[in-house]
């Protein structure tokens, strides 16, 4: 027996998927997603998505980078091998500043990349929605909303009926892979 991943409703136009996202959000579903071939302006608002938390990773990365740069300059110049260069002090926050600044940017970029991977659950080599036979249309000219089985309000019959009320092209159950179930 295949395990159900969720219930998919297929739409033809961007306004239709926008309305569908509004309705699904208002119905109180939490675990669901929308698949579109291109970015649809305002869809994040219709879905009720909050702002990404990736910037937090960027900020933490930036701080770590700044202090790493300063620490390197202090450790080498003032602690491990003190050497007078150009009559400057062993350590001052002034001259290592370009180093700390570059490290800030580098580590902030690492933080952004790491945060993006973390929140997107990357790397993800496969997704059950790929099993949908018309998935390729979702990268071309059609739109879909998928309510996942893990949602508290999910009920195979009721969710199907709810999605059919949105007047989609079709409503299809999407199943997990069999290997994934046995594993």
């Amino acid at each position: 027996m295949k395990k159900i991943h969720g219930m998919l409703a297929l739409f033809d136009t961007a306004p239709a998927i926008y309305q569908a996202a509004n309705t699904v959000r208002e119905a109180g579903y939490k675990q669901w997603d929308v698949f579109t071939p291109f970015p649809v302006h305002g869809l994040d608002g219709a879905m009720g998505l909050k702002r990404s938390r990736v910037p937090l990773f960027t900020l933490v990365g930036g701080f770590v980078g700044f202090w790493t740069g300063m620490f390197i300059a202090w450790y080498m110049g003032a602690f491990d091998y003190p050497l007078i260069v150009g009559g400057m002090p062993y350590f001052s926050p002034v001259f290592p500043f370009p180093v700390a600044y570059e490290m800030t940017i580098l580590f902030a970029a690492f933080g952004t990349l790491g945060g993006m991977f973390f929140f997107n659950r990357l790397p993800m080599h496969h997704h059950p929605v790929f099993n949908y036979e018309k998935f390729r249309r979702l990268t071309d000219d059609q739109f879909a909303v998928v309510i996942e089985a893990g949602d508290a309000l999910f009920n195979e019959e009721e969710t199907r009926r709810f999605l059919e009320e949105l007047e989609p092209l079709e409503v299809v159950a999407v199943y997990e892979d069999e290997e994934a179930v046995s594993a």
């Binding site: 702002r51 900020l59 400057m88 002034v94 500043f97 370009p98």
Partner: protein
Amino acid sequence: MTTSSEVFAPSAAGAAGRRDPSLPFLIGGLVLLAVSIGLLFTGSAADPVRPFLGYLVGLTFWTSILVGMLFLVMIWWMFDSGWSVIIRRQMEFFLVGFVVIAVAFLPLVFLAISGSDVVAWTWIDETREKPGTFGMVAEDTLFLAKAAYLNVPFFTARYILIFAAWIGLAFLLRQWSFRMDETGDHKYVLWSRRLSAVGLFVAALVTTMAAMDWFMTLNYHWFSTMYGIWFFSASMRAALAATVLILFWQAGRKEGLRGLIQPTHFYFMGCLLLAFTVFWAYISFSQYFLIYSANIPEVTFWYNIREKSVDGSLNAWWWVSMALIFLHFLVPFLFLLFHKNKFGKPLIFIAVWILFFHIIDIYWNILPQKLSAEGLLGYTERGFVPHLTDLTAFLAVGALVIWAFLRSASKHRPIPIRDPRISESLNLHE
């Protein structure tokens, strides 16, 4: 290009027949300007040029806002920017203020021509004490080497050139934009873009000249190739912060931008404010860093007097320097990193904050100078003490610039209704 922009006919267009609210600004401004000019001659015997510097500080604050706006308008034309179109119009209103600045600057030029003792540019009078060491300016090798540039006739010519360029660019960009409201002819877009392509270079040149003439040569011994761009970066911050405040004022007016301006406009302005906060810090630090690394006394003294008295103890300017690093850069930088701070009250707060510390930055650049020659007993430097002229000149020029802005804003439409990109700006989406 189409004339589809005619579809947008804001209810707030036109402003005929209302009472002129700008009159008190004109009267107050003129009175205060007269007071400020009178105060120029009240310097103490030990420091006769102090009121002159206060006048320069007040004038520079408003000049920097205008310079930044001129650059922003031209940059937006250059990049054919769509989102900024309704913001550009507010700046076009404000740009008329260059005329006020040119007039308010005249007393300083006349004093320089007359060789008066109250003028802070020491090089205008060759019989004055040269900065730092004993002797007269006329005997100073560093002055003689620069005398081809630092002389009153050429200085006056540069004053005319600087304001001719600023006012000329501002005048053409304003007139073409206003005329497009009436005729809907999009040739003005092409003209403005062509003018901006050349105008950016011209404005960069004369703005650098202004920064060198008016602030850097307060001590003509000192030189920094970063100085022009320091003034540019500070001006951009001031202009963005001032524009944010203008936008909030306009957003609340029915005849202004109420219902037209989106939160995203403020968000984008906040983003630019963050970018130029970093840019200002980058430029200011680079200037310090180069002088620190080279460690040549000819230029390091400029920073020395902003940190220490001659006996090595920290002076008041050291605290101002620290305030600039932490309060003019770090606080706005961290504050503006957050998405929610680029809207509404937080944005107003940080715009006011930046403008306040922008004055401090101007203070810090203009005021500290050695007051006496360096001898056995050392020197004294001018302290961080406010003077009445700082306030009166700031208020006088400000009132007159705001008067000019209000008059201009009451004569023309609050948005450029026939700009080909107006719909992009009105339907702005993050």
